[in-house]
C-alpha cells in the first residue's frame, strides 16, 4: 500500500504557497484518489499559518517545519527540514514541485531518506509510471522505480493549481533544530538593467535572434531600432522575452548588443525550456539546439527572411517570410491603438 506525501513551501511573500506547490498538491490529491491511498502534506516556511489555508480540504494531515531559520531557501536548512518532514510522514511516494528552492535540495533529501529520485516529471499515471524528457527535451520516456521512498519532482505548469475547499487544516509542527550553516542568503537580484523581461506567466513568448543585430539590407546594423521595437512589443503585449544563444553571446564579444538581454533569456539546449501557450520567433534561424527549448510552447509562429530557416521545416505552424523590423513596427502600431 503506497503512502503519498507532498512537500510544499511558502513563496517569497511568506504568506502564500508557491503556485508550483499548489500544482504538486493537486497531482498528489489525484494520485491518492486513484490508489485510495493515504495523503499527507508537508509545509516549509518561517510561518505557515496563512499559507496553510490554501491546503484546506486536500489532506487529513498537514505537517510543517517553521521558524526564522527556514525563511530563506538555503541547502543546509531546507534539506534538514525536508528530511525531518519525510521522516515524520514515512511515505513511499514523495511529490514535490520543481521550484528553484526544492530543485536545489530534493536529491540530497532523497539520499538521506535512502530513497530514489526522478526530476522534471511532467506526468504521473495512476499506475505510478512517471513521464520525463531526456537529452534536453528530445526523447520522452516513461519510467518506473521499485525503490521506496520514491521522490518525484514535478515540473511547474504540468498540473492545475489546487484550490482550497472548507476550513483551514490543523497543522502539526515537526521540530527541527536548524543545522549549522556557513551560508547566509542576502536576497535576490535582477541581472537586467531596468525592467524584468522574463515573465513565466505570460501567454506569449517573444524570441529575438541574432538577426536583430546583424547588417540589414541597407548594409547597416540597427541595434537601437531593434531595442525600441522589442521593448515596445514586450510592453504592449505583456510578453516574456527569450533569446537565441547567438544573440546573448554577443554581449561578451564587443558586437552590437541589446542591453536588456542576458543569458537568463536564452532558450534551448543550454538555456531555458519555458511553458507558454504561444511563441513568436523573430530573426532567429530555428536551429535544433534552439528549438528544443520550445518543447512546451504550443503554438509557434516565426518571422524570418530565409525560406530555408529551421522554422520552415516543420518546427513552426506559420512562417512569415518578411523583414521583422517592418512587421514588428506595424504590430506595435496596431497594439498601441
Amino acid at each position: 500500500m503506497e503512502k503519498i506525501f507532498v512537500l510544499t513551501h511558502v513563496d517569497e511573500s511568506g504568506t502564500a504557497l508557491a503556485k508550483a506547490s499548489l500544482e504538486a498538491v493537486s497531482a498528489a490529491v489525484e494520485l491518492a484518489k486513484s490508489f485510495s491511498a493515504e495523503l499527507t502534506i508537508g509545509l516549509l516556511g518561517a510561518d505557515v499559518a496563512q499559507a496553510a489555508a490554501q491546503l484546506a480540504g486536500a489532506a487529513p494531515k498537514v505537517l510543517a517545519v517553521t521558524g526564522q531559520a527556514f525563511a530563506q531557501p538555503r541547502y543546509a536548512t531546507d534539506a534538514a527540514a525536508c528530511e525531518a518532514l519525510v521522516k515524520a510522514a514515512a511515505p513511499t511516494i514523495v511529490l514535490a514541485p520543481s521550484t528553484a528552492r526544492f530543485a536545489r535540495v530534493m536529491a540530497g533529501v532523497a539520499h538521506r531518506a535512502g530513497g530514489a529520485i526522478d526530476t522534471h516529471i511532467t506526468a504521473v499515471s495512476p499506475s505510478l509510471e512517471a513521464t520525463r524528457w531526456f537529452y534536453r527535451q528530445r526523447i520522452e520516456a516513461v519510467v518506473k522505480r521499485e525503490r521506496r521512498p520514491w521522490f518525484l519532482l514535478l515540473d511547474a505548469g504540468t498540473h492545475a493549481a489546487y484550490s482550497a475547499t472548507g476550513a483551514a487544516p490543523a497543522v502539526e509542527a515537526v521540530a527541527v533544530a536548524a543545522p549549522a550553516s556557513r551560508t547566509t542568503v542576502a536576497g535576490t537580484r535582477s541581472p537586467q538593467q531596468g525592467e524584468q523581461t522574463i515573465r513565466p506567466n505570460a501567454k506569449l513568448l517573444f524570441v529575438a535572434g541574432a538577426g536583430w543585430t546583424k547588417k540589414q539590407s541597407d548594409g547597416q546594423v540597427h541595434a537601437a531600432d531593434a531595442e525600441k521595437l522589442i521593448l515596445g512589443f514586450l510592453h504592449a503585449a505583456d510578453a516574456s522575452l527569450g533569446s537565441s544563444k547567438s544573440l546573448v553571446d554577443q554581449s561578451g564579444e564587443n558586437q552590437a548588443t541589446l542591453k536588456f538581454m542576458t543569458h537568463l533569456n536564452q532558450i534551448g539546449q543550454t538555456g531555458a525550456t519555458p511553458r507558454h501557450a504561444k511563441g513568436l520567433s523573430t530573426c532567429c534561424h530555428g536551429e535544433e539546439p534552439h528549438v528544443v527549448g520550445w518543447r512546451f510552447v504550443n503554438e509557434r509562429r516565426a518571422i524570418n527572411l530565409d525560406a530555408n530557416c529551421g522554422w520552415a521545416r516543420g518546427k513552426a505552424d506559420v512562417v512569415y517570410l518578411a523583414d521583422a523590423f517592418q512587421v514588428m513596427a506595424k504590430v506595435n502600431e496596431l497594439l498601441e491603438k
Partner: protein
C-alpha cells in the same frame, strides 16, 4: 596559501547537440558510440569557471572527474585538453542519459574521495547544474551529500571570492532573477549554469602539457558498472514533432501584423 582552492569538476560526455538522436531498446541511443561527443555543455562552463578561479588564486588546482567509455573519453579529451589546465581523473563507465543519477554520483564521489592529497577543507565541487543527457540535477547534490558537503548551490552563474575569503554566489531562481548568497569558504558544491565566460580558444601548447597527465590517467581509468537503483523504462521515444508549416510569402508587412495581432488575441 590564503584563498587557494582544490576545485573538482565533474562532467560526462554528451552527443554533439546538432546530432539527431534516436532511442533503441535498452533504452540507449542508436549508434551511441559512433555519435560525435562533446564535454557536457554546462559542466564545460563550470570547467572554464574553475580554471579562471584557479588562475586568480595561486596555489589552487583543478581536477576533472569524467566518466564515459575510455575510448570516447580519449577522443573528447584531445579537444578539452587544449582549453584550460587540469588533472584528469577518468572513470571507464557507461555513457548516456538513461543511467541512474544516484549510482553515477556514488561512483564520482568514490573517485573524488580517492584523489591522493586532495585537501577536502579547500574543496569546491563543480559541475553542470543539469546534464544535457539526463538533465536531472541529481548527480552533484548527491555526490556532495556523499562527501559530507552541505553548502550547496545550483544554477550558479557567478562565484566571487571576497578578500576575506567569503564566497558570493549568484544562483538562478524563478522569473529571471538571481539569489545572492554568502558562503564562508570551502568546502561547497556549485552546479553551474552558463556563468560568464566564453569558451577558451584552443591552445595546442596547453593540449600537449595536459596530455602528459591525461594519457596515464586514461590508462589507469577504473572500470565502473552502475546499479539501476530500481529504475526501469516503460518506453522511450522521440515525439512526432513535425508541424505542417504554412509558409507565407509576399504578404505586405501590415497584413502580416494584422494576422499576428489577431492570433495573439485568440
Amino acid at each position: 596559501m590564503p584563498n587557494s582552492f582544490q576545485i573538482v569538476v565533474c562532467s560526462s560526455l554528451v552527443p554533439d547537440p546538432l546530432q539527431t538522436l534516436e532511442p533503441v531498446a535498452g533504452p540507449a541511443l542508436k549508434n551511441e558510440m559512433m555519435l560525435p561527443a562533446v564535454l557536457d555543455p554546462w559542466a564545460a562552463c563550470s570547467l572554464y569557471e574553475a580554471a579562471a578561479l584557479a588562475a586568480a588564486h595561486p596555489g589552487s588546482k583543478v581536477y576533472l572527474v569524467a566518466m564515459a567509455p575510455k575510448a570516447k573519453l580519449q577522443q573528447v579529451m584531445m579537444t578539452v585538453a587544449q582549453k584550460v589546465p587540469f588533472e584528469l581523473v577518468a572513470l571507464d563507465g557507461p555513457l548516456g542519459g538513461f543511467t541512474d543519477a544516484q549510482s553515477t554520483a556514488a561512483a564520482l564521489a568514490e573517485a573524488i574521495a580517492a584523489i591522493p592529497a586532495l585537501d577536502r577543507s579547500k574543496l569546491l565541487l563543480f559541475g553542470g547544474w543539469e546534464s544535457a543527457s539526463r538533465g536531472a540535477g541529481v548527480t552533484l547534490q548527491t555526490a556532495g551529500e556523499l562527501l559530507g558537503i552541505t553548502e550547496q548551490f545550483q544554477g550558479v552563474d557567478q562565484l566571487t571570492v571576497r578578500d576575506d575569503g567569503q564566497l558570493e554566489v549568484l544562483e538562478r531562481v524563478e522569473g529571471g532573477r538571481h539569489q545572492v548568497s554568502l558562503c564562508q569558504g570551502a568546502p561547497a558544491v556549485f552546479g553551474w549554469a552558463t556563468g560568464n565566460l566564453a569558451e577558451p580558444r584552443n591552445s595546442p601548447q596547453m593540449g600537449m602539457a595536459n596530455m602528459r597527465g591525461i594519457t596515464p590517467a586514461l590508462m589507469k581509468a577504473k572500470p565502473v558498472k552502475l546499479d539501476a537503483n530500481g529504475l526501469s523504462y516503460v518506453s522511450a521515444a522521440v515525439p512526432k514533432q513535425t508541424r505542417e508549416t504554412r509558409l507565407v510569402r509576399d504578404m505586405p508587412a501590415e497584413e502580416i501584423a494584422r494576422e499576428i495581432v489577431a492570433w495573439m488575441a485568440e
